[in-house]
């Protein structure tokens, strides 16, 4: 490559990178600003805005609700998906391929947007409107197919020799999963837990549709309400709260990309 071409390419990359970084600047600067606005105002850093968040009961409550929803869904998805993918990996019944194909089609077709109306109507019938459990069940069902595909891949790679040896030693079929296979697919379960957490923690639409009362909304809906509420939006509070809310996702992201590289998220988030 000629020197000139190289310079043009690097310049192009620099511009694109700046474009990616510019909107992010606000999230880094404003939470620590003494005069928070929609602009970038550099002042001596202060923690005042975070103190405001700690005083806002509704904000803290919403954070707690986010934790409950995400933790509940992650536990449910990892548990049910590992059981199901073990059964799919270690058996050969008629209709197995059909189940897998159906899971693939429905999980890509039935998005939160396309199914918001029937999911709302269903939760209404089941008395799951304004219930954290309802949100957990909807999220879990939505994420289970993807989780099953990932975990089945992992279990397929675990040699059956371990289980065969345990059978010879007199273990029962049901013990094999808990004692032998589950400990071996730890990394797979971690992958599923991370992806599931990042997606559910960030989701806005499902709780926005299903939750009515202010005491049960998670952080995503709370932030939306903060800036659509009548009156002057409390920008200091919103920015600090947004940063706190984004932090768990950022931490998980840095941890994972240090361990597995950026490619980890490719093809899995969605």
């Amino acid at each position: 490559m000629s020197k000139a071409a190289r310079i043009v390419l690097v310049l192009f990359l620099a511009l694109v990178t700046i474009w990616f970084a510019l909107p992010l600047l606000w999230l880094i600067v404003t939470p620590f600003s003494k005069a928070p606005s929609l602009g970038i105002s550099l002042t001596a850093p202060t923690l005042h805005n975070f103190a405001e968040v700690m005083k806002a009961r509704s904000a803290l409550l919403a954070f707690k609700n986010s934790v409950i929803i995400s933790a509940g869904s992650v536990v449910l998805v990892v548990l049910l998906a590992s059981l199901a993918s073990y059964a799919l990996s270690r058996s050969n019944f008629a209709g197995k391929e059909l189940i897998i194909t159906m899971l693939l089609i429905f999980s890509s077709m039935v998005t939160g947007v396309a199914a918001m109306v029937p999911i709302y109507a269903l939760c209404q019938k089941l008395r799951l409107i304004d219930s954290l459990l309802g949100v957990v069940l909807v999220f879990s069902a939505g994420f289970l197919p993807t989780a099953i595909f990932i975990l089945k891949d992992f279990i397929d790679r675990v040699p059956r020799a371990y289980e065969e040896a345990a059978l010879v030693d007199g273990s029962k079929g049901t013990d094999l999963f808990g004692r032998i296979v589950f400990p071996l697919i730890g990394p797979g379960a971690a992958v599923v837990a991370v992806l599931c957490f990042v997606n559910i923690w960030s989701n806005f639409l499902v709780p926005f549709i299903l939750i009515r009362s202010n005491s049960k909304i998670p952080s995503s809906v709370a932030i939306y309400q903060f800036f659509t509420e009548v009156g002057i939006p409390r920008i200091g509070l919103i920015s600090a709260y947004s940063l706190l809310y984004a932090l768990p996702v950022l931490v998980v992201y840095f941890w994972v990309s240090r361990k597995y590289g950026f490619g980890f998220f490719g093809g899995l988030k969605g």
Binding site: F20, S107, T111, A114, V117, A141, L144, P145, L176, F227
Partner: protein
């Protein structure tokens, strides 16, 4: 494989598979079918029609096909998909991954890092970041453009479609970029090296070696991002579909008719249309995956 059934009895398989399949059946599969029925009723969110809706046949679909707002939403969704997913995410992602492949080095970490951050931060937060970025009076964009002689623009009001298109390119390019980057890594370096030795330019190498090698991935990427972009709700957080419906993509139209105007039955009929579009892309995706496996 004769031994494949030996660990697990039929009962165990059922017990292991059952809970997951029941949950998926109730909250994922059933809604997809129920929406077909709901779309044929005048189900409402509140009032008498919420408790005892009646069957109205194809009426809702008739209304949709004669509603200017429906066509408006469909049109904006198409512009949104072609602009932000195809011309934006896929093209920019491809260009970035090819340049980074040619340059290598630590610059890759910086570019990928910025793009992935935009992709990973929760949607409510990025929406707020862009509201601040595009603000007429304080926003960083207008401040940067001011020295260039551009007078302040109220971007979200004056150019709402352009704003959500650019937003979505910013938001989603990381996925295509990472996908293409990992595909490029699988091309044997000797292919490109020998082309280089023979004096092929970067463009020749791209069109004659790189592009044919990643054609399958390119197709997969286009199918996936089209499906996702059709189903993204984040623009709602930026513009709410406005001003006066000018950025109302199909998902926002469904939300507005169902939850703001309380017409769940009508919203269901539009959802059915979206589900059929999704099914088409899901089948395409399945087909592309199958072909990749068999080649």
């Amino acid at each position: 494989m004769p031994s494949s059934n030996s660990f697990l009895s039929r009962k165990t398989i059922l017990a292991f598979l059952g809970p997951a399949l029941i949950l998926v059946a109730v909250f994922l599969v059933f809604p997809a079918f129920w929406v077909l029925y709901l779309g044929l009723t005048d189900q409402a969110l509140t009032g008498v029609r919420a408790v005892s809706p009646s069957f109205v046949g194809m009426k809702n679909f008739n209304i949709a096909f004669h509603d200017d707002f429906f066509y408006n939403a469909l049109k904006i969704s198409f512009i949104f998909v072609i602009g932000s997913a195809w011309l934006g995410q896929a093209l920019l992602g491809l260009v970035l991954s090819v340049i980074l492949y040619e340059l290598k080095g630590p610059i890759k970490t910086v570019v990928s890092g910025a793009a992935v951050l935009a992709w990973i931060i929760p949607e409510v937060v990025v929406a707020y970041l862009w509201i601040a970025f595009l603000d007429k009076d304080f926003g960083l964009l207008n401040q940067i453009l001011a020295p260039l002689g551009v007078t302040r623009v109220n971007w979200l009001y004056a150019h709402p479609v352009l704003a959500i298109v650019f937003f979505n390119v910013w938001r989603g390019t990381a996925f295509s970029m990472l996908l293409f980057s990992s595909a490029l890594e699988t091309i044997p370096p000797s292919f490109i090296e020998s082309a280089r030795v023979m004096g092929a330019s970067m463009f020749q190498r791209f069109f004659q070696i790189v592009l044919p090698q990643i054609r399958a991935i390119l197709l997969t990427d286009l199918i996936l991002i089209t499906l996702w972009t059709f189903n993204v709700f984040t623009p709602f957080l930026l513009t709410g579909g406005g001003p006066s419906f000018r950025s109302e993509i199909l998902p926002i139209y469904i939300w507005r008719t169902s939850f703001k105007y309380f017409k769940l039955g009508y919203g269901s009929s539009v959802s059915t249309i979206l589900l059929v579009i999704n099914l088409g892309f899901a089948l395409l995706y399945l087909l592309a995956q199958r072909r990749k496996k068999h080649v």
